[in-house]
């Protein structure tokens, strides 16, 4: 089996994650889409490490995991804070910066 298969799987997962971010309106689900994209890049990095025969790709994947953990903590805290003030986890409801004047 060619190692390119892993990369194709990685691209599929990345695209599904990206589509999730664009389509879903629930902030938590959209956030999980981001996690899916990060995981897909990690799979690509691990595969690259194997193709190149050194471990730097794996180290980079490791750092991606650490940063993802930090990002999740802060992101979920923001979602909870918004939910407390606005009683909603929908991305569409976060529109305080929207220009509500009549476009005419």
């Amino acid at each position: 089996m060619n190692l390119m298969n892993y990369l194709v799987l990685s691209t599929i997962l990345f695209s599904v994650g990206a589509t999730t971010v664009l389509v879903r309106r629930n902030a938590i689900i959209a956030f999980m889409g981001v996690e899916m994209m990060l995981n897909a890049t990690n799979l690509a990095l691990v595969t690259f490490a194997r193709i190149n025969g050194n471990l730097h790709g794996q180290v980079l994947a490791f750092f991606v995991m650490v940063v993802a953990a930090a990002e999740v903590v802060v992101g979920l805290a923001i979602i909870v804070a918004i939910y407390r003030t606005r009683r909603s986890a929908s991305i569409d409801d976060v529109n305080l910066l929207k220009d509500v004047r009549d476009p005419a």
Binding site: Y6, T11, F31, N42, G53, F62, M65, A77
Partner: protein
């Protein structure tokens, strides 16, 4: 398990092809992962989406181990499925499991454009991967330290704490900052002072002047003298306590008549203790006359 899986999957052929065992592993897990990821995209309930993501992440851990990255496989399980997804589930519970998606498009046609964009992204990225002419994969046998009798975590540690030592420090600072940030973001300022035990005691003593009580209200006379809670309890002086009957029963007019019980008490206090009078007033109806007759004699 990890070592055996690595043994199955690790070696590449001279042409850089993965072994048959690894191919089977991949073709079992890859469809599962794609279906589960579509579950994230399509599931109506957020919890189902979270379970789909957990499936993808565990499958990824298997693929990492198969790809000569046992350390990352373990970290994937511990950090992603163990910590991050559990955090997601906690927040789902906090925010409300049934906070379902609105199906209203705020930007018209956005959903269709997004799906087309996603398919286009697959096409472009997969096209790049498929048409690329990569070098012959080298495999990680040497890099993982097979020649010097060391293992993947050891070799990774050598790189992380050697070549990337400064990055590791920065990442550590990032984690501390993130933890503090989460604390600050979810912190709620207390608007009113906490009502502790001392404050409650003082409030009760203060209310005493306006007819409050220091103690809790007494319970109704259910266990003492009846089998329903619409009956008032008797106070130490023998008088029925109106406050012991639930307020709601009084509002509905369902409480037993306190006057009736008061009348009985008055009768007893008026000297109704004499044996004959008591029996005359309340004839023993349960047919068990033996004891009273013995008492008479």
């Amino acid at each position: 398990m990890i070592t055996t899986m690595s043994a199955v999957a690790a070696t590449l052929t001279d042409m850089g092809e993965a072994s048959t065992g690894e191919a089977i592993l991949f073709w079992v897990f890859a469809p599962v992962m794609v279906v589960a990821s579509l579950g994230l995209l399509l599931a109506r309930k957020a919890v189902h989406a979270a379970l789909s993501v957990i499936t993808v992440m565990i499958a990824l851990a298997f693929l990492y181990v198969a790809q000569d990255a046992p350390f990352l496989g373990v970290v994937q399980v511990v950090v992603y499925t163990g910590a991050i997804m559990m955090l997601f589930l906690f927040v789902l519970m906090l925010v409300g499991v049934d906070s379902s998606d609105s199906l209203v498009e705020t930007i018209k046609g956005q959903r269709g454009v997004a799906v087309v964009g996603g398919l286009g992204l697959v096409a472009v990225l997969a096209g790049v991967v498929v048409t690329a002419t990569p070098k012959v994969p080298e495999g990680l046998d040497v890099a993982n330290g097979s020649t010097k009798d060391s293992t993947n975590p050891e070799e990774l540690a050598a790189i992380i704490f050697g070549h990337y030592a400064f990055s590791l420090e920065v990442v550590g600072a990032l984690l501390v900052t993130a933890a503090l940030g989460a604390l600050v973001l979810t912190h709620r300022e207390r608007l009113v002072p906490k009502r502790d035990q001392k404050a409650r005691v003082e409030a009760r003593v203060k209310a005493l002047a306006e007819g409050g009580t220091l103690t809790p209200l007494s319970a109704p006379g259910v266990y003492a003298r009846h089998n329903a809670m619409d009956v008032p309890a008797l106070g130490p002086d023998g008088e029925p306590l109106e406050v012991s009957v639930n307020r709601v029963l009084k509002v509905r007019g369902q409480e037993a008549d306190a006057d009736e019980y008061a009348a009985r008490v008055d009768r007893v206090l008026a000297g109704g203790w004499a044996h004959g009078e008591l029996e005359a007033a309340e004839p023993d109806t349960d047919g068990d006359d033996d004891t009273s007759e013995e008492a008479d004699q």
